[in-house]
Amino acid sequence: MCLIAAPALAAVLPPDRADLLYHRYQGGGITVQGPSILVQKKIGDHFSVGANYYQDMISSASIDVLLSASPYREKRTQKSVSAEYLHGKTTYSAGFINSVEPDYKANTSYYSVSQDMFGDLTTVTMSYRRGWDRIFRDIKQNGFIINDPTFQQRADHRVYGLSLSQILTRNLISTFDYELSTDQGYLASPYRQIRFLDPNNPVGYTLANQIYPGTRTSDAFSVELKYYVPYRAALTGKYRFFTDSWGIVAHTFQVDYVQPIRHHWTLDGNVRYYRQGAATFYSDLFPYAGYSNFMARDRELAAFHSITLGVEASYAFSIPHLTWIQKSTATLSFDRMMISYLDYRDALFSKFDPGAIRAGQEPLYTLDASVFQAYVSLWF
């Protein structure tokens, strides 16, 4: 350990800002919308604190809800606070997130340390995140939706992160990010079910409960390159590799281009390609009841690929009389997500029209979703 180091210089805290966002997701029969408010403020010269208030308001019913006719409720509220402390070239952060919805309560705490080195060309960050979840199940009773008193589960999560950002040239920065996640407890959804072939059933299949493993460990590793294009634009390329103990292997490719135009406008275009292989215990249609010790039909564990195209336009404006606001922008962003499942079928076809289509022959499910964001950002 070298205690006689080079002259210690300092890094900088995040800028003071406030963001007010409206988000809206629409696809697969559901609409989720709500606000997200974020404030970041320096206190003195060494501290910066942040707070976020976020809500999801859910309406309509997804394919899973329609298939199993399970009740659903509408609102998730998430509140988080964070603090950063800067000493020399080291930044220490800690934060806490609380998420509440009628059937899922989650608390997360996280800590990280960031160190600038090699003349501020390199930043190494180590992080730890710990989550405690309590899972309930909604049932209908006397016309009301309440938590099933016989169903109360827990899930614990731990995430270890190590990342390195390295400036390569005056115009190029690279980032390497690794995260190891471990989960244990109840990791399934209380509402989703598997189906198995059942010739005795008019629809051709029978629904049954999912059985999930009680643990999950995953590795994710990503590489990112960001390049400053000489005429003033930024081009970013990113790749992530994911693998876990459930047998899922996923690749994510992303390209992003930011183009400022004159004094006020900034445009952004991005393309994301995602490809995932199914979990070992996943099947759209099991051959018979009790086929294996773990069985799931969650489409998040299926084999699929997706392409997301996004555009964003941001306008910088000044607010007269409010001189303490250094910069303000208004942004609109739109993303179109197109998912094609390779082994998840639209079981509603056989449910609502029994006999017409055989179980296991239904068309593969596709999901097209639109994500819309509108937000105002102020820097002060």
């Binding site: 205690l3 000493h87 080291t90 160190q115 730890y128």
Partner: protein, 172 residues
């Protein structure tokens, strides 16, 4: 068990990483071994060629800055008040802007003007000459043309360090 080992290793690594920074952070001092200040000539914002040699006999404070550097912008109004206070006592302040393109620097100076000379160093010749290792960097040269103090970076309160150095050299 695996989680516990990983957490302990993480904490130990954080300490290993941060300890040297903690140890060194408190010992940063401004005094340097005296060395002759390298001479230079640069164009100023008023279009004139200004050289360091013109100020021999004065205590000279050179401040290397850029408009894209937050702490630099934060510090400049304080430098302006230091200049106003000491300029009649044989003290001068020179701002050296390190940007290859002067456009944003000029726009910022228009909004936040200073009365001390600001010179352009678009090819980083003087930055290299003075081995600038941080942004901003402030170099204080005594009346004999010898570099006596170098201050790297800027945190609110550092202006007191500047004042101490200037007062020590002004009386010589």
């Amino acid at each position: 068990m695996r989680n516990r080992i990983a957490t302990t290793a993480l904490l130990a690594a954080i300490l290993a990483l941060a300890l040297p920074a903690w140890a060194a952070a408190d010992s940063a001092a401004d005094s340097v071994a005296p060395a002759p200040a390298p001479g230079f000539t640069l164009q100023s914002t008023s279009g004139q060629q200004v050289s360091l040699a013109q100020f021999k006999g004065d205590v000279v404070m050179i401040n290397f800055w850029a408009s894209w550097c937050g702490p630099c912008r934060q510090e400049m109004p304080l430098l302006q008040s230091i200049y106003a206070k000491y300029k009649d006592m044989g003290f001068t302040l020179i701002g050296v802007n390190v940007e290859p393109d002067a456009k944003t620097a000029n726009a910022w100076l228009k909004a936040t003007p200073v009365s001390y000379p600001v010179l352009y160093d678009p090819q980083s010749k003087v930055s290299q000459l003075y081995q600038v290792q941080a942004m901003p960097t402030t170099v204080i040269i005594d009346r004999t043309g010898t570099v006596r103090f170098v201050h790297r970076g800027y945190l609110p309160g550092d202006e007191n360090a500047y004042l101490n150095s200037i007062r020590a050299l002004i009386v010589q």
